[in-house]
């Protein structure tokens, strides 16, 4: 894209015009296939990939196309078996040492190259930190239309993609239509669809990583774990969360014990994080992380609107609180009215008994 003026600038602008024409041409050759961005880190497939294969399959079946997955990484093949098990029809790998860690520039070039090669009509990404970062760049680069963090996908009477997504922090939902004749890209909210399983064979193909020299201006030197070995709140299927009424960092041990039994992540309210009981990386809420687990257990969290904004998309909500009038108790599917310092250890013991069987 041009930043210059004068004859060269005009030439570049002209070439941009040609590029637009080219996109138009590409659209007319768009296939009925649905492309899934199969996010992996260190050879481990992100669990959300199996989830987004589910809507990808539904869209592909309705349109008479295939589900193709693209794996991008240093040794992208190492996640291919796990990806095959999700039931995709075809796997495209782009492996290169420069793709070992995610960078926005190299990954957008790689995914855009896969799109140019495969010409899908729809591309789905998981709405992970990577997917959120990557999707807008790829959409802009490929002249596509994009909706992020969607929870429902369907086709309208003309076959155009139509999606539903939460807005205003889940206080409303918006239905978003896509324009005709243009690549449609959507990132899909985590834990929205059941994982697709049962695949046993998929075609394989490898593509060369595009060599875009200027992509080297952005590098990732290391990935540092911040949460120890404990699961992140956005990844876990169960989140056990605590508020300021935990009274100390030390008392959060009660929640970690329960989380250990349930294979859950530990989250916290803003008040608890501001008080230093937990790091801000564990904060759930408007200015923290948005979580959509299948089970959210709020311990001593009254339910300020900013906190509800970050967790109201959870499937099942449990409140443990001494105040039955607290907003969290009103929102909860199950409100345990009592002292969390007694209820939480009792719950840990009960859960341990049950899960030992």
């Amino acid at each position: 894209m041009s930043r210059g003026t004068g004859p060269i600038g005009r030439l570049v602008r002209w070439s941009r015009f040609v590029e637009i024409k080219f996109v138009g041409l590409q659209v007319s050759h768009m296939s009925k296939d649905v492309l899934v961005f199969a996010e992996q880190r260190n050879g481990r497939l992100h669990p959300a990939v199996a989830q987004i294969v589910t809507p990808a399959r539904a869209l592909a079946t309705a349109g008479g196309g295939r589900v193709i997955a693209v794996l991008i990484g240093a040794a992208a093949d190492s996640a291919a078996d796990a990806l095959t098990a999700t039931g995709v029809d075809h796997i495209v790998t782009i492996s290169d040492p420069s793709l070992e860690r995610y960078t926005a520039l190299r990954y957008r070039s790689a995914l855009a190259a896969a799109i140019a090669h495969l010409k899908p009509g729809v591309v789905l990404l998981p709405a992970t930190f990577m997917g959120r970062d990557l999707a807008p760049r790829v959409a802009m680069r490929t002249g596509a239309a994009l909706a992020t963090d969607v929870i429902e996908l369907s086709r309208d009477a003309e076959g155009r993609l139509d999606v539903r997504r939460p807005i205003y922090n889940g206080k409303a939902f918006g239905r978003v239509s896509f324009p005709a004749g243009r690549l449609a890209i959507a990132s899909v909210r985590l834990n929205t669809f059941a994982p697709s399983t049962g695949g046993s064979g998929a075609g394989r193909e490898s593509l060369a990583a595009p060599a875009v020299e200027s992509d080297g201006r952005l590098t990732c030197s290391e990935v540092v774990r911040t949460g120890g070995e404990v699961k992140d709140v956005t990844e876990a299927e169960i989140v056990v969360s605590g508020g300021r009424s935990l009274k100390s960092e030390d008392n959060f041990k009660l929640l970690y014990e329960l989380a250990g039994v349930l294979d859950a992540a530990v989250g916290a309210s803003r008040a608890a994080c501001d008080a230093g009981y937990q790091p801000h990386g564990r904060q759930v809420g408007l200015t923290g992380k948005t979580v959509t687990p299948k089970l959210y257990i709020a311990c001593g969290i009254s339910g300020a609107i900013q906190h509800l904004a970050g967790m109201r998309g959870s499937k099942v909500i449990v409140a443990i609180n001494s105040d039955p009038e607290a907003p969290m108790c009103k929102l909860a599917d199950y409100a345990v009215i009592g002292d969390l310092f007694q209820v939480v250890p009792a719950l840990t013991a009960e859960a341990r008994k049950l899960l030992a069987h």
């Binding site: 637009i20 926005a104 992020t148 409303a172 089970l295």
Partner: protein, 264 residues
């Protein structure tokens, strides 16, 4: 160094969202509008950079939106921006996020900016598209969801941390670059009354579609989604209260989670 900060005016986070009967928008009557909290981090960061470094020459705030967005730009100027650009035209209202990014790119491309800062997402539509899409349109590097930042003394490169699942990526890139800001990097200040008064005198230029080079072609090249219907969230079935002794409560809850909710 010239810094551009993108500002969006959004309903306050504590607003009770009501949807209009026709489902086309929320009912905006009486809704308190504020600067998007993540954009507030961005303008605060710009001003802190100016206070710490000698090479920050100019900070410009930019917003796309109806007349009211000027108020958000005045707040940004009270915190630190020297001037502001307000892109205001009925033709901009129907642009989606990617088209808005293309619009902003057309306006700022020749502006000589070294750094563009914006929030990691906007708390009304929650899309998070604008920053990365604008960087792509400008062919700049970007770092999304920045939690720590170091700009080299020579002002030519940045080192940043960005938050991911249970970890942080340490990222480095040359300038110009676009950064989207996560909570925790800076704590926004309240603009002082004298600074609010001064902000009223700072230059704010309004640009319409006629002022944007190539505007007519923008919408045709990318994007084009349309939010055609807003709906309230589905009502949650009424919950139930579990009372009694802690051991009884725990046993009952575990039974319900296993047998009724089927989540453990």
């Amino acid at each position: 160094m010239k810094i551009l900060v993108l500002i969006k005016q959004v309903p306050d986070s504590t607003t009770n969202i009501r949807i209009r009967a026709d489902g086309a928008d929320i009912d905006r009557a009486g809704v308190k509008m504020v600067v998007n909290p993540f954009d507030e981090f961005a303008i605060e960061l710009a001003q802190q950079l100016r206070e710490k470094r000698s090479d920050v020459q100019h900070i410009t705030a930019l917003a796309v939106g109806p007349a009211g967005a000027a108020e958000a730009l005045r707040t940004a100027m009270a915190i630190g921006a020297d001037d502001a650009i307000h892109l205001q035209d009925a033709a901009f209202d129907s642009l989606d996020e990617l088209q808005t990014a293309a619009l902003i790119a057309a306006v700022v491309r020749e502006g000589g900016f070294d750094l563009i800062l914006c929030g990691k997402q906007e708390i009304d539509l929650d899309s998070g598209q604008l920053g990365p899409a604008l960087a792509e349109r400008l062919d700049w590097a970007h770092v999304g969801a920045v939690t720590a930042l170091e700009i080299a003394a020579d002002g030519r490169s940045v080192e940043a941390s960005r938050r991911i699942e249970g970890a942080e990526e340490r990222v480095r890139c040359g300038l110009p670059a676009l950064l989207t800001i996560e909570k925790g990097l800076v704590e926004p200040r309240y603009p002082s009354l004298p600074n609010l008064m001064k902000a009223k005198k700072k230059p704010l230029s309004v640009k319409t579609a006629a002022d944007v080079p190539g505007f007519a072609d923008l919408a045709g090249a990318v994007g084009g989604t349309r939010m055609h219907k807003l709906e309230p969230p589905p009502a949650r079935p009424p919950g139930r209260q579990i009372k009694g002794e802690p051991a009884q409560q725990a046993a009952e809850l575990v039974r319900l989670l296993r047998e009724e909710a089927k989540v453990i």
